[in-house]
Amino acid sequence: MDDEAPVIYGLEFQARALSAQTAETDKIRFLVGTQSLRAENQIHHIDFDDENNIINKNVYIHREGEIWDISASTMDSNLLATCYNKTTESKTEMRGAVWKLPSDYDSTQVEDHSSHQSLQLVCHLDDTEYGDMKSVLWHPTGDSSSLIGLSDNHILLWDLDSSSSTAKLTASAELESKGQPKMTCGRWNPHHNSQQVATANDTAIRGWDIRSMQQVYVIENAHGQLVRDVDFNPNKQYYLASCGDDCKVKFWDTRNPTEPLKVLAEHSHWVWAVRYNHFHDQLVLSSSSDSRVILNNIVSLSSEPFGHLVENDDDSDEDQQVQNRSTEAPKDGVIATYEEHEDSVYAVDWSSADPWVFASLSYDGRLVINRVPRAEKYKILL
């Protein structure tokens, strides 16, 4: 059996929301939200059986509307938040809500479309005065039960009390700038005791301190056009990756907002998502509306610029390592380009359980689960 072959899973609807089930660290699980204006929307809970290369799924009904963004809780694997589009005849509203998966994963569930269970609503994150909710962020380490919502031009900090199923708005900050700034995406910085958030609006990336709810840094003109996504390096505290409509992926040191550390221009259309691997931060995924997913090796900006420098107890392995390292110094570059999609790929995410597995989702509802090529994997491990 060829382990390298991608596994493809088709959804019936358009979809652009994808998230790994972050709190689940044993099994490779992903959450996908569909986007359909007319049909009832679903959340597909995907389980990937790595050994047998099989995908199992649970489908839950998401009654509120089409899902634009999904994020799994970092503290409770059954919790997730969605940003959905509530449409009426004359207007559309983007709202956020926290949901609970009704049952633990049940692989024996009968394949029966009529019996899809509904998600259990925990609470709405409503505060309509702040406008459309773009994205919901969970506290990156799961230590506290706070949530951040990005509305049009506000950052809203919520405190979730899951026992009583309420969420309380504790703080908010407003983005003030020329015109009507709308935030496109955001990312909670896992470093500095999780007290910083980065948001993007138009071509700028801004950093916020959530204690004071003040802007702390800004990267003006981070991209030639709209910034589509940002992600923090999980191991290096000031390092940030961003992508946007200028078809580029850029790497920044937030202490120096004037110049990027590195620019990748591998995609031939807008780049919609960029993701660091949680374990090996030299692995960076990017997905684009040229329907490609590219796996980059950015070893020069990673926490292991000279290869894997952990002390190894196994002596025999160590000798080999030394040899490998001396023969070829790791270089930046594209590891692989995945072309399984036929429509724009709006989302990509690493599995939270297996550092070598990732999923990508294209607009036509095709979910592709891929693995890091084995050669690259061994190069990093050995």
Binding site: F13, E89, W270, G365
Partner: protein, 786 residues
């Protein structure tokens, strides 16, 4: 029996001797001689033979044998008799001769005795005579000795006076000759007081003479001939050759340093514009020293002053020091070494000056004077080489010449680069200026701009090549030297200048493509012009230029392996052209997409009114694309397009969504959505994947296709982010239909536009709450009106 044996042995011996005498070869019967029965053999034994005969033969045979033997014996006897008789006469005459000889010898003996007595008497007489003459002879020889000694002594006593007289008469050579004659004797008899006086006197005088000579030697005004004499005499006087060489050379150096090199130095200072102090000099010198000479004059003065002087010195040195001491190899070698050292040092200084002066000659455009002066310089150096065979100044000289040539090439390259930068500025200004007047005008000038730029560049290169040709003219000596000509033509002119300049153009162009952030202000038209320029370079200009260079500089074909091949340059130029064009497409595409994006994002698509018009943005888009089309059309050919089967099909819309729409009007629900995506997926399966920001070809159609693709893809992505109401969808329908009406003519494959527009409408349908499509006829009507 024993006697018989001995007799037989004797007989055999005699036999052998006889045989020897008659030359019978014994070994002929040697093989048979062992046989005792062979009657002619040496070992013949009569008894055995007889016994065998009797045993083997019959009676009659025996009888025959007997008679045969008898006749043979008889024949042998008679033979022997004749032999004895013949030799008898010879013996008799021999005896007679010997007797006669005996008589003659006796007479001779007597005469010899007589002779011996005569000889002894003669000896006696001569002894007597010599005895009597002995005394007188001794006296005479003594007298002769004394006479010569006295003569010598007289010479010695007179020597100081003579020397003085000679010195007074300035007949130095005479003096030296006298002194060298007497020197040894004086030295030998130094212990005698009288001689000592003379010797001291002489030495004093000679020392005076030495002083005089040295003075003359050191005198600046003394002629070379005088100098030569001085040196010669001083050498004869036993002055050490080494010291003399040294003194001579230092003298010469001082002279050359002061006179010739100073002039050169001052010239360089003048050329640099530095002030120099005037020293007390003759007016002519002062004039010469204050007016800057051009390089030709400079080299001339160098040749006439410095080089000719140094030649004189060398020639003279050769005569005095080198050619005279052949008997002493050591001195010779030492002297030569000194000379070489001296010459090298001075030449180094001189080269240094020339080099500096030539480097100062940077700013002028004309080469002829420089080349002529370099030629003169080179020629003179070759003449030098003949004088001093061991050293090779022409190599160093050629180095200076090549360096000068290289400097010129570098200077020209700089000029070319500057010129190219000016061209770019010109284009920018031209592009910026008429924009105020009107867009049409600006695009009309693109081809003119291209041509003028191209011709300026070409002319510049040609004129530079023409100027550089002066270095290889046939009347220039160094131009013919292979070690100058080869590197100059290939490395400097071809590689350094032409290839270097082409690479420079490439890198400048590439910079335009890369620095989007810093050089965001690059006008797209400039990109387009440069792209075309590079393409033209690839097509013809590069090969033309290189052929021109090769012709003008007579490059040899066999050297070409070390050169950058034409094909490499062409590929480079083509790549650059490609990148520029791609960048152009990207820039233009982005500007149009920006427009589209804003238009989609800022509108409330849920609550629009029923479409009456095509949105103004779409008209703007078409206008812009038309302008781009004209711009590109100025510089690039049309290019080929995929023709569709017939013109009529253009207006019909076999879109997936309209088909499904026609079947189930107004019934948008779960099922048709799948149907729709299925249809579009199937369609995608059959159509090729559309690369958005892909490489374009060098044709108008391809460029436009690229721009249109980028724009439409943006349109689609923006649409997907919005939610539409019924009229929003219909507006998009109208807009896309309008785009289709006008865009097909710009692109290579109408199908592509169709597919993209279909996808836009398809996506809009997905994003529509109330998907009711507009009638095609209404759309057509609106579009025609708009």
């Amino acid at each position: 029996m024993a006697d018989e044996d001995q007799q037989q042995g004797n007989k055999a011996k005699r036999h052998g001797m006889l045989k020897m005498y008659y030359g019978i070869e014994e070994d002929q019967d040697g093989g048979a001689s062992l046989d005792p029965c062979d009657i002619n053999g040496a070992h013949f034994k009569a008894d055995t033979y007889l016994a065998r005969l009797i045993k083997e033969k019959t009676l009659t045979e025996l009888m025959d044998e007997e008679s045969k033997t008898l006749t043979q014996i008889k024949a042998l006897d008679s033979d022997m008799q004749t032999l004895v008789y013949e030799n008898y006469n010879k013996f008799i005459s021999a005896t007679d001769t010997i007797r006669k000889m005996k008589n003659d010898f006796r007479k001779m003996e007597d005469e010899m005795d007589h002779l011996a007595t005569n000889m002894s008497s003669i000896t006696e007489f001569s002894a007597n005579i010599s005895c009597t003459l002995q005394d007188r002879r001794q006296q005479i020889t003594k007298l002769a000795g004394v006479h010569s000694l006295l003569k010598k002594l007289q010479f010695l006593f007179e020597l100081p006076a003579r020397l003085k007289k000679c010195i007074e008469m300035q007949a130095y050579s005479q003096a030296v000759r006298y002194y060298s004659k007497a020197k040894r004797i004086l030295h030998q008899y130094q212990h005698m007081p009288s001689f000592k006086g003379i010797s001291e006197d002489c030495n004093k005088i000679i020392q005076e003479l030495c002083q005089l000579l040295r003075q003359q030697f050191k005198n600046k005004e003394s002629t070379p001939k005088q100098l030569a004499e001085c040196v010669d005499l001083l050498l004869q006087l036993g002055e050490p050759a080494e010291v003399l060489c040294e003194e001579f050379l230092s003298h010469a150096r001082q002279k050359i340093d002061e006179e010739d090199l100073k002039v050169l130095d001052r010239q360089i200072c003048l050329q640099r514009g530095e002030e120099i102090k005037m020293e007390g000099e003759s007016p002519a010198q002062a004039y010469l020293g204050t007016t800057p000479m051009d390089v030709l004059e400079f080299v001339d003065s160098g040749c006439n002053g410095f080089l000719s002087n140094i030649c004189l010195v060398i020639a003279f040195y050769n005569d005095t020091f080198l050619n005279k001491h052949q008997e002493d190899d050591n001195t010779d070698a030492m002297a030569l070494k000194k000379l070489v050292h001296f010459v090298n040092e001075l030449m180094e200084k001189y080269f240094n000056f020339v080099q500096r002066r030539v480097q100062l000659e940077k700013e002028t455009g004309d080469n002829t004077i420089l080349v002529r002066s370099l030629d003169r310089f080179h020629r003179r150096l070759q003449a030098m080489n003949k004088l001093l065979p061991d050293t090779d100044f022409s190599r160093a000289g050629t180095e200076i010449v090549s360096r000068a040539a290289k400097d010129r090439v570098g200077y020209y390259l700089q000029t070319l680069k500057q010129n190219f930068a000016d061209c770019l500025t010109d284009i920018r200004q031209n592009l910026a200026a008429p924009r105020l007047v009107g867009k049409q005008d600006s695009s009309a000038q693109l081809s003119d701009l291209l041509h003028s730029t191209q011709s300026t560049i070409l002319e510049q290169i040609k004129s530079v090549l023409g100027n550089l040709q002066a270095f290889t003219a046939s009347d220039i000596t160094f131009a013919m030297k292979p070690y100058f000509r080869g590197p100059f033509c290939t490395q400097d002119v071809r590689e350094g200048l032409i290839v270097g300049f082409l690479n420079h153009i490439n890198s400048v162009c590439e910079e335009f493509c890369e620095g989007t952030g810093d050089r965001g202000s690059v006008p797209p038209a400039l990109l387009l012009i440069l792209s075309r320029l590079c393409l033209d370079f690839e097509g013809s200009t590069i090969s033309y230029l290189l052929t021109l260079t090769e012709e003008q500089f007579l490059l040899e074909e066999n050297l070409s392996h070390s050169l950058t091949p034409v094909s490499d340059l062409c590929t480079k130029a083509k790549n650059t052209a490609q990148r520029l064009l791609n960048h152009y497409v990207k820039v233009q595409g982005l500007s149009i997409s920006q427009m589209l994006r804003k238009s989609v994002e800022t509108r409330d698509w849920l609550n629009t009114i029923e479409p009456r018009n095509v949105r103004a943005v779409m008209k703007r888009v078409i206008e812009d694309i038309t302008a781009i089309d004209m711009q590109v059309g100025q510089l690039y050919e049309e290019g080929c397009r995929k023709e569709r089967s017939s013109d009529s099909s253009r207006r019909t819309h076999p879109h997936s969504y309209s088909v499904s729409q026609n079947k189930k009007p107004g019934q948008w629900n779960y099922a048709p959505s799948i149907d729709n995506s299925l249809m579009s997926n199937i369609q995608k399966l059959f159509s090729e994947k559309i690369e958005i920001f892909s490489t374009v070809e060098f044709s108008k159609v391809s460029v436009l296709t690229g721009i249109v693709k980028i724009s439409l893809k943006t349109f689609m992505e923006c649409v997907r982010l919005r939610t539409f109401g019924r009229y929003g969808l219909q507006q998009i329908q109208v807009d896309t239909n309008y785009l289709q009406l006008y865009l097909w003519r710009f692109v290579s494959d109408e199908n592509l536009v169709q597919v993209l527009l279909d996808e836009i409408v398809g996506s809009t349908v997905h994003r529509c709450l109330d998907a009711v499509l507009m009638e095609q006829s209404v759309i057509d009507l609106i579009c025609e009106r708009g």
